[in-house]
Amino acid sequence: MLLEVRDLHVEFRTRDGVAKAVNGVDYSVDEGETLAVLGESGSGKSVTAQAVMGILDMPPGRITGGEILFRGQDLLKLKEDERRKVRGAEMAMIFQDALSSLNPVLSVGDQLGEMFVVHRGMSRKDARAKAVELMDRVRIPAAAARVKDYPHQFSGGMRQRIMIAMALALEPALIIADEPTTALDVTVQAQVMDLLAELQREYNMGLILITHDLGVVADVADKIAVMYAGRIVESAPVHDIYKAPAHPYTRGLLDSIPRLDQKGQELYAIKGLPPNLMNIPPGCAFNPRCPMAQDVCRTDVPPLYEVDEDRGSACHFWRECLNG
């Protein structure tokens, strides 16, 4: 297994109290595999990714438990300088907003080349040549001419390609893409997702795709982990989950997508709001919003029940949910 996250806990200490952002997350991704982590804002999907990358702001963040095994080695036990060797070279991240993730006062060539100067000890000239090669690879037209341009001179889609180029630079085994296409328009989004999928196949990388878009997930993922209030509530191969969700939250998300045959009717809506992370409801965190909730849901935290060989659901009533 390329990456395994085991029972990860992350909390943020703030002036108003402790926000429990991640409360026991397990997931894994193998080489050449795409795991989609689906969740709404505040579900802990990005925080988990930041903990994996080792870029969590600490403080106020704190990893209070768990293991992050990369090729069997626990990253949380590494010293910062050892960790830095892993970051970028072995695993890389693509962020949502390319404009604010790129340095506005450095040319894109310098930023891409920096990877080779720092990690590979190349000369500036060689690094520049590498940068052009990378820009070609992510299909930026006239790469050699544009390598001296600054981020603001590129369009949104092109900037995201530069982010992808930067993540790919050292040919990492794992890429974490945090909402890579959310800020892009649909037609450009399709270009970028296609490129990402193609490069993944070419390098046989593991890909963790963090998103809230059920459409994007269905398009590219092999398996899904659905997060809610810092926990994985359902994990399954992508085909199974769309056919028959085994958790009421997943079902609610799928049902709230407008469908053709429902035009003119009321959309299904999950009632209520996502919980406050400083005050997560006892029992199952989803129980105040759940149409199936019973007394046991308000008292007992559901474990991740095994639904199938490679499928789990954190719902006491997953059988009922699965059968509709």
Partner: protein, 357 residues
Amino acid sequence: MVDHLEPILEVSGLVKHYPLTQGILFKKQVGAVKAVDGVDFTLNKGETLGIVGESGCGKSTVAKMLVNLERPTEGLIKYKGEDLTKLSGKALKSVRRNIQMVFQDPYTSLNPRMTVGDIIGEPYEIHPEVAPKGDRRKKVQELLDVVGLNPEYINRYPHQFSGGQRQRIGIARGLALRPEVIVADEPVSALDVSVQAQVINLLDRLQSEFELSYVFIAHDLSIVRHISDRVGVMYLGRIVEIGRDEEIYDHPTHPYTQALLSAVPVPDPEAREHRERIILAGDVPSPTNIPSGCRFRTRCWKARERCALEVPLLAVPAEFRSVSGPAAHDSACHFAEEKQVVPSEEPGGMSPEGQEE
């Protein structure tokens, strides 16, 4: 659906150019950002017109002109036959009362220092004839109730609410003056998926309750389809195709609409294999330098010489004029042809089992 069509808003030849100038003291115009470059549409009473398009296509500028936050460079906006662009003073004020807006971002469109009561009641300061001072508090509480918020929250501040609740506040403010038209600019795109459906349902309910007409601007095509009676597709400052929702979604004839529809990720992993996707090359050209002829030709796989020379008009294309069917709707393309890009019957998925009857 609407039985008898009674136009409430008629927009024709709408243009908004922002001048680009050079020099500080002696400014001279060196060009223009052609944000909106000739838009025509009609909104009928009780109808929802969806406008879709990518960022920079001018859809938000159209919205701003409809509520008079921007003055058009050229063109007419007729509200019940009266041209807004010619009005000023009192007459304009009374017309503006009837066209209200709901904004995209519920975080920045509410003043953080005002209570919810003041925010929703502020329109009454400008139009005191709608509610005399003593009545206002009660009216605001009614509005809170209408949009599904607790009327006791009247003294709270925006930060005490979640995104979805804030959007409800924005909607209540839009309703305060009992307008006939609501222009909603991306009203749900800043919200979480589970909350989006709640707000869409609310807008739907309010439409029938208050007999509203909506101009609904969004980039999410499935939401637009759900709520709209008619849909217009914008590209680089113009509407390239417009028609009833099934005409646009099931029988698109403009290549841009086809590409846009095919690019939308479908929440159905089964569709992954047998779905034809049209992936457009390149980016949208800059609105300061619009291509000659058809503005889509630089990204169009069908473009020929004629497209560079002749501007295609928004009308029913010649080849469909004789047939009556869903393909016969306005489309601004010289080489329009029907192409189904969204599978009309979903094979297998899209919906979880047990939902299907």
